[in-house]
């Protein structure tokens, strides 16, 4: 096993996680539970495919993918902020809705139940090991950019205030709802970008292609204690385990199913506080009546 090829494969697997976990971090730091990342990602993948297919250009695909993720993010925001619907239910509903709508429009647009026609991804020179895909760089940059946003900008300060003590923020004139709308919209865009990467990397959209990656992102957010850089490290850890499993495929050292379980088991352990407590933002999920 070549360490370089391990690293490059690991990074490519990590990209969707990095995007989606970034989105999860910003939304949850503002106090909104983010379980719809899977749905955002799937929608982004599909709309990206539509855009790339009809225009022939992957960059248009990126644009439409962002719009798709943004749309679902806004639905989540309106339902939970304006209508105060239960945030867990909304997340799960959007995941189901994403599966349904992508399937429906897959049939409508491409007359298929399983996949779209092939689309142009970013020209990948195999000698470049995937590093010529701009989305890879964007994915890697998500964590530092978010960390900067969260800890160095005025908006980030407000997000942190709103997620911990919305009444205090309200009392100094900050519009809590607006801060949250932006955060959730961002999470839609970022998770959508994760889907864009998937679709363009695989050069097509397949039914339910996200395959639970959105939930691994949730696991990374929690395991990373709602910090962008730590969540990104968690993503890399999970991606490393996955890469290990793929590369050891033939050896049957450990069955693939057990490698699959790692992110989820780690998160449960983190929640139980066995290895230090994972304490969420204080106002996460609570809505003032």
């Amino acid at each position: 096993m070549n360490p370089f090829s391990f690293l490059t494969q690991m990074l490519r697997i990590a990209v969707p996680y990095l995007f989606a976990a970034g989105g999860g971090v910003i939304a949850e730091r503002s106090g909104i539970i983010s379980l719809g990342l899977e749905g955002f990602m799937l929608t982004g993948a599909f709309t990206a495919t539509l855009g790339a297919h009809y225009s022939g250009s992957p960059w248009i695909g990126v644009l439409t993918g962002i719009l798709g993720g943004l749309l679902f993010g806004l639905i989540h925001a309106i339902a939970t902020i304006r209508y105060r619907a239960d945030q867990v239910v909304v997340g799960i509903a959007l995941n189901l809705l994403a599966v349904g709508t992508t399937r429906f429009f897959l049939k409508l647009a491409f007359a298929s139940s399983s996949n779209s026609p092939r689309i142009n991804g970013f020209a990948v020179n195999s000698a470049a090991y995937g590093f010529d895909n701009p989305l890879l760089w964007m994915g890697l940059l998500t964590a530092p950019v978010l960390a900067f946003l969260l800890y160095r900008t005025r908006y980030g300060l407000r997000v942190r205030a709103v997620g911990e003590h919305p009444e205090a923020a309200e009392s100094v004139g900050i519009k809590v709802a607006r801060v949250r709308y932006v955060a959730v919209a961002l999470s839609g865009i970022l998770a959508g970008l994760g889907g864009v990467y998937l679709a363009l990397d695989q050069h097509q959209f397949t039914d339910q292609m996200t395959a639970g990656r959105g939930f691994i992102a949730v696991a990374a957010v929690i395991f990373g204690r709602w910090d962008p850089v730590r969540a990104a490290l968690a993503c890399l850890l999970f991606a490393a385990a996955e890469t290990l499993q793929i590369q050891l495929q033939g050896n049957h050292v450990v069955a693939s199913q057990f490698i699959e379980m790692i992110p989820y088991l780690l998160t449960i352990i983190a929640l139980a506080g066995v290895v230090g407590r994972a304490v969420p933002p204080a106002a996460l999920g609570k809505m003032e009546r």
């Binding site: 539970i33 379980l35 639905i75 339902a79 209508y83 105060r84 619907a85 239960d86 867990v88 239910v89 909304v90 799960i92 509903a93 959007l94 995941n95 189901l96 809705l97 994403a98 599966v99 349904g100 709508t101 399937r103 429906f104 897959l106 049939k107 409508l108 139940s113 639970g212 939930f215 949730v218 696991a219 929690i222 069955a255 199913q257 057990f258 699959e260 379980m261 989820y264 088991l265 998160t267 449960i268 929640l271 139980a272 506080g273 969420p280």
Partner: protein, 354 residues
């Protein structure tokens, strides 16, 4: 009808009503985007589900599983807990039922074998439900995330069992179970010939009745609902809140696990990897639309089952995926309308009480 009962009914029925309206409008849009006429598609949907015996049988079959998962989730919500793990509890229940069924000799009569399998199914689900229960009580770990994560863990584990040990070659299911076969409805009502509907639906109705009785007529049910409504008052009333939480999640898991019987013993007579097929998550929708009441849950299960089967019936005209879209829309609409309706009704009622 007392005014209190009517008020409760109003608050309970408004959101699903709103949701139905939204679903109809959405359905119209989707159908028209396919160039079809909504009224003819809806007529086809009704005909294909409640209009013929086979279709209705399929509806009953799907209702059964959803009833179990819906009851499971609603019981948790009554205790103030969100069980998102019905999917893996259902699968674990079916798995254990299959194990017991395979282990028993076919010579053992049904009325012995089936109850044994049922106990196994309930136990399987209960174990999966007990884990988040314990973690919540002991560590304060939020059951939403634990159950979501545990879903993946358990399903992966079950997949491993099947793929590596128990499967019939070229498939992902166990060998056929001879002991503990639950008869199809078509055995008693020939009109249902060909449909998967089986006697497990009777079990579902019994469990619904038991849940109703347990919640509203027993001491533990009183305490459980109290914990869900106002844990501080329950504690004041001498209730062991942590104990209730643990038992609620465990029981919730057991009920979901029992649902596995429907597929494993009543339909295919084997355990198949992935048989749960999203019924666990739909159970959340069923509980929500059914307003967490056993009667509502049964009705909501019927509704979602009808939608699901209806999708197949209209497949020639509109892709059955439309139904999946409608499911998501209905859940969103109900979730959004519940707080609004509650607030609106409270404001409307205020002047009457001084």
């Amino acid at each position: 009808m007392t005014s209190e009962f009517r008020e409760k009914l109003e608050e309970a029925l408004f959101p699903p009503f709103v949701a139905l309206l939204v679903a109809l409008i959405c359905g119209d849009l989707l159908i028209m985007s396919y160039g079809q006429s909504p009224s003819s598609v809806y007529r086809l949907l009704i005909e294909g589900t409640w209009g013929n015996a086979y279709g209705f049988g399929q509806v009953l079959y799907k209702t059964t599983t959803l009833a179990f998962t819906g009851l499971a989730v609603s019981l948790g919500i009554r205790a103030g807990l969100f069980n998102v793990g019905a999917e893996s509890q259902l699968a674990a229940g079916g798995f254990l039922a299959a194990l017991v069924g395979l282990a028993l000799s076919p010579a053992i009569p049904g009325f012995v074998a089936i109850p044994l399998c049922m106990i196994a199914a309930a136990a399987g689900g209960a174990v999966v439900g007990a884990i988040p229960g314990y973690l919540r009580v002991r560590f304060g770990a939020h059951e939403v995330i634990v159950t979501i994560m545990l879903n993946f863990v358990v399903l992966a584990l079950l997949n491993w069992f099947i793929a590596n040990h128990l499967h019939v070659p070229e498939t992902l299911h166990t060998p056929e179970i001879r002991a503990g076969v639950v008869p199809r409805l078509s055995q008693y009502i020939p009109a249902f010939h060909g449909s998967a509907a089986n006697l497990t639906i009777i079990l579902a109705l019994i469990v619904a009745a038991l849940v109703w009785f347990g919640l509203f007529r027993t001491r533990r049910g009183y305490e459980l609902r109290a914990v869900g409504l106002q844990p501080d008052a329950a504690e004041y009333g001498g209730v062991n809140v942590g104990g209730i939480w643990f038992r609620a999640l465990t029981t919730s898991g057991a009920i979901a696990g029992l649902g596995g019987i429907n597929y494993v013993l009543g339909y295919k007579h084997y355990y198949e990897d992935g048989f749960a097929g999203g019924s666990g998550f739909l159970g959340i929708a069923v509980a929500l639309v059914g307003r967490n009441h056993p009667v509502g849950v049964i009705l909501a299960a019927l509704f979602f089952a009808t939608l699901s089967q209806g999708g197949l019936a209209i497949h020639a005209f509109v892709p059955k995926q439309m139904v999946e879209v409608l499911q998501g829309v209905v859940i969103l609409a109900v979730a959004m309308s519940v707080p609004e309706v509650r607030q609106a009704l409270r404001l409307a009622r205020k002047p009457a009480k001084a």
